[in-house]
Symmetry: C2
Subunit: 326 residues, 2 copies
DNA sequence: CTGTTAGCGCTTTCAC
DNA sequence: GTGAAAGCGCTAACAG
């Protein structure tokens, strides 16, 4: 034990934590001894065992990092959370592919030294993962999913938000509309957004499910929607901005102009500096969402109950929507 | 202690770890007791203290998550690393903003329960961070930076790689060329790529430093380079694909055609599904780089020395380079 | 196959 | 202002 070199362990502990009153002379002596022994401060694991805190929060992804962080919106949210965790001195432990490899993820999660967990991605997820975490009696926060009474949520109301664009598009006179959803129609977000469109367009709605939130994926889904020239929709509403870009590319490759021949809308309101046309979309406060969720984690850690947070989204009208051609 | 409920602690430990031989009857009994007590398996922190392993690897970013993961190339590398860590059952603890807030990052790092660390972003970084980690005697792996004898590296030879594009451009007949670098000219990568261009173009090279690896940032830097119509370069070589897109946007807004009036090249070779023109660039194996780096971590953890890995990059000729107009 | 024992390295009362 | 002692919950020898 590095401390025996000079003084008692308790004194050394006080020196490193800066908590108790220590004579300057002693402090110097301890530091010098540590230096010469190559001792780099208290062992975090041992400290954690004693204090019951590891200073680590699990951040859980449904899919791979690549798939999740391909979308700038997710990066924005993650960054918002990271800023707050940084301030709080909490580290983020990334746990990915929870959907695909539930076994492995479960093992990983139960072996992880964490004080709380944040469900970052959108799926409804495996029940077992939530159960396992809940058994640890640690604060659980989600960004709208998975829905579970043991998880405190921070999210927009997706149904209300999607309705904003839906009504904008309906107000322009569109009736035959297409929808490009994110993967997993069961996921709360996707289901809610879909429901909003059904509310507004009823049975005139045609739906295509994308395989992920990416441009290529949106293009592919849009092709399916636009395949039949007779019943072609006059507007396509995508569940993410990236998907919307894909839709516009599909339109272009079919010789359709946006917005003259086809109106297109996105969701999220991210910066697309490489895209020439301002997109009509619903902007949600990504960074804020991450930050607020992180504060819910903090509150949970402090023993405060923590209530669901509902954020506001708003319609952004760009240049990709117009009345339908007659 | 949950275990006292039925049997001895050691037997319970064997049940949960699946290591030793346990009678089926006993196993069942232990599991049942755990169930009824709401015991969710061994405490990871206590187990770590005993075994000396936490199963966590620190992944260190120079800047914010937002800034770093804005670039799809970085996401790709991170995903490559994540796949391997997943397989190994290791978690990734993200430590960001090491450049800006060295104090905080240092505190965070020394309090983090980690078995190894991977320097993910490119800067040369603060010496103190490396020192602090090195004092813990854990394996240290980098993706080319920071350069330090205690860090095992996995990277391409940036100078050789950049020379590939440089010679391609020089071979087309360009002489007055501009360069848009990533932030921080001191960073090993940036310095090496710059050196390659100096090798090839000498004093005909004009350099602009971008503020980060993004489209807007590339556009801004390119504007500076293209401002003077008389000494305007006929080609601009960017240090990342995203910067190259920004350069092309600057060119377009100035009424210059690519590649007729201006040749443009990138670096990394990422997918740009939203960009219409195939970019001339240097492709580096991003996912593989992350994966190989992760394996270096594994080797270090296994006590094997570990030697630097040098990966190969290759030239990809797209449609953004052509001989200069006379 | 199962129980006993001895720490892992630290923080935290509590005396002095 | 400093030291002694207890114990966080677990795993790994070793004995039975």
């Amino acid at each position: 034990m590095a401390r025996l070199a000079e003084v008692s362990t308790s004194t050394a502990s006080l020196v490193f934590s800066g908590k108790g009153p220590v004579a300057d002379a002693t402090r110097t002596r301890v530091l010098a001894a540590a230096e010469s022994l190559g001792y780099g401060g208290p062992d975090p694991v041992a400290a954690s065992l004693r204090t019951g805190r590891s200073g680590v929060v699990a951040v859980i992804f449904d899919s791979s990092i690549q798939e999740t962080l391909h979308d700038p919106y997710q990066v924005l949210v993650l960054d918002g959370a990271a800023s707050v965790f940084d301030e709080l001195g909490l580290g983020m432990l990334i746990i990915g592919r929870v959907r695909d490899e539930s076994e492995r993820a479960l093992a990983q999660l139960s072996a992880a030294p964490i004080d709380a967990a944040m469900f970052f991605s959108c799926g409804q997820g495996r029940r077992s993962v939530v159960d396992s975490l809940a058994a640890r009696q640690i604060p659980l926060v989600g960004l709208g999913a998975p829905r579970d009474p043991r998880i405190v949520q921070c999210d927009i109301d997706s149904r209300v938000a999607m309705r904003l664009v839906a009504e904008h598009v309906a107000g322009l006179g569109h009736q035959r509309v297409g929808e490009v959803t994110l993967p997993d129609l069961q996921a709360p977000h996707t289901a809610a957004r879909h429901a909003a469109l059904v509310d507004v367009f009823g049975s005139d709605l045609v739906t295509a499910e994308a395989t992920l939130s990416g441009v290529e994926s949106g293009e592919q889904a849009a092709r399916a929607l636009l395949a039949d020239p007779v019943h072609r929709p006059t507007a396509i509403l995508a569940h993410s901005d990236l998907l919307a870009v894909g839709v516009m590319q599909a339109a272009e490759s079919l010789g359709l102009r946006v917005p003259e021949d086809l109106s297109v809308t996105g969701f999220d309101g991210v910066d697309l500096p490489w895209w020439p046309t301002p997109l009509t979309t619903v902007a949600q406060p990504g960074s804020d969402k991450g930050a607020r969720a992180a504060r819910l984690v903090r509150d949970g850690l402090a023993g405060e109950p923590g209530r669901d947070v509902v954020l506001q989204a708003h319609l952004v009208v760009g240049a990709t929507t117009a009345p339908p051609a007659v």
